[in-house]
Amino acid sequence: MKQDIPQPLNGLLAAGGALSIIIAWQFLLPLAGVPSYILPTPVEIARIFTKEGALLWTNFWPTVYEAVMGFLLGNGVAVLLAVIFVLNRYIQAAYFPVILFLNTIPVLALAPVIVLIFGLGVLPKIIIAAVICFFPTLVNMIRGLESPNSSEIELFRVLSASRLETMWKLRLPRSMPFLFASLRIASATAVIGAVVGEWIGSDKGLGAMIIQATFNYQSGRLYAAITLCSLLAIVLFLIVVSVERLVLRYERH
């Protein structure tokens, strides 16, 4: 049986759990003889943030920009395409299989091609982040737009609603829970896309920093960059969750 934990205690436990891991990392790993160039302690990583703050900062913003733009582009195109597919089954029948096939190509294999086509600027990174977000949102969105039940569809038919009205006033609002389920995941994958893009051809951004730091055994800098990637994904996730709360407030009563 599921045990319910009261709210303040629940938060405390989560914080305590994380803290215990960090403390163990700080004190047990050196005792176990793990060298600092393999895995620096939390204190060492924190020190990098104060020492190399400016460098981290200048590499943080390009990744933020690419991840956010990729998130917006990939999800935006996915939503638009899902609407078109559900409005017109013929277009869906013609093009959905192609997209399904393209989705089987691993993004890591596709990334060099995208860099080849779009050069070394920010654009290829945005596109890689967008490609990663695109497919799950497309599939979720189609399912969401098709989620109205038969009496809802019949209600709109009896009211002589047009296809566009049914789309706008029934299907789109109905699809919102599906969309946000996908956007939560996309908030993390968009960052992956931006970082992967930077690995392949860039001297700026957290991805570039990760590659350079790895080759130069600057493990403190490496872990600081990883921390920032995770932070970015968390912030994006929290933004998605707050927008979702606002949009789906009718569900919480």
Binding site: S151, E152, E154, L155, F156, R157, V158, L159, S160, A161, S162, E165, T166, K169, L170, P173, M176, Y250, E251, H253
Partner: protein, 261 residues
């Protein structure tokens, strides 16, 4: 039945209803039947599952094309009646949109269908009050009880001032006390508005208590088994009470009919 054509709300002639299988074959649910429903009549429809009760309502609402025969709705086709907003449908589940408040749900018919609201349409607030929902207009469906949700659905159906109200087991999911209360409110509403009501139900009590006529459908193949006329019994202003021996006897009759079909 011989009646003036213009006093008819619904006229079915040799009507066969059903659907087409994926292979294109016609699968009949209700076979070759005639039925006249007078304007302002309250007709209840009862029968075993699969006999085509809902199918008939769906055809009147233009949600289903007849396989054969003719179906006239208010001297025109079902599609014309639907486009004029002369027909409203109340579903078994209230079918309220969860992101709209009670008031916004009632106003849905004015938001779609690209037609100007009827001049003589009752204001949505008035309809909510009529259904006993004063003070609940800003609640979301999730904040309403099952009975309240169904009241909102009825208020929404009345917004277009329909001449025919189709109700497909509207109170089937409610507890008996709420159901009795809503039955009485529906009767009061019907007497006031002179709307034609077609009411599908699984409850013998509901069928006998509400209907001026009760249509008993049989399954396999779907057909009209019997048509009970209770208008003589209910000639008085207030109709019959639930405990009335005549009504109880009528219910026993209906039960016997249903056992045979």
């Amino acid at each position: 039945m011989t009646q003036d054509r213009h006093s008819l709300a619904i006229a079915a002639r040799g009507l066969t209803l059903g659907y087409r299988s994926p292979a294109g074959d016609a699968v009949a649910v209700l076979n070759d039947f005639d039925l006249d429903v007078a304007r302002g009549e309250f007709l209840t429809i009862i029968g075993p599952s699969g006999c085509g009760k809902s199918t008939f309502l769906r055809a009147v609402a233009d949600l289903l094309q007849p396989l054969k025969g003719q179906l006239g709705v208010l001297d025109g086709s079902p599609a014309e009646a639907r486009q004029r907003r002369d027909v409203s449908f109340v579903f078994q589940d209230a079918t309220l949109l969860p992101w709209r408040t009670a008031l916004q749900n009632v106003m849905l018919p004015d938001d779609v269908g690209r037609r100007a609201p009827r001049q003589d349409a009752p204001p949505a607030m008035e309809l909510l009050e009529l259904m006993g929902l004063r003070g609940l207009e800003n609640r979301y469906p999730a904040q309403l009880s099952g009975g309240q949700r169904q009241r909102v659905a009825i208020a929404r159906a009345l917004l277009s001032r329909p001449r025919i109200l189709l109700m497909d087991e509207p109170f089937g999911a409610l507890d008996e006390i709420t159901r009795d209360r809503l039955n009485d409110e529906l009767l009061r509403l019907w007497r006031k508005t002179e709307t034609t009501i077609l009411f599908v139900t699984h409850s013998i009590m509901e069928a006998a208590y509400l209907g001026q006529r009760v249509m008993v459908l049989a399954a396999n193949p779907g057909r009209i088994h019997a048509l009970h006329d209770l208008r003589g019994l209910k000639a008085t202003e207030t109709g019959l009470r639930r405990e009335d021996p005549q009504l109880i006897a009528e219910m026993a009759d209906l039960r016997r009919e249903l056992e045979r079909c």
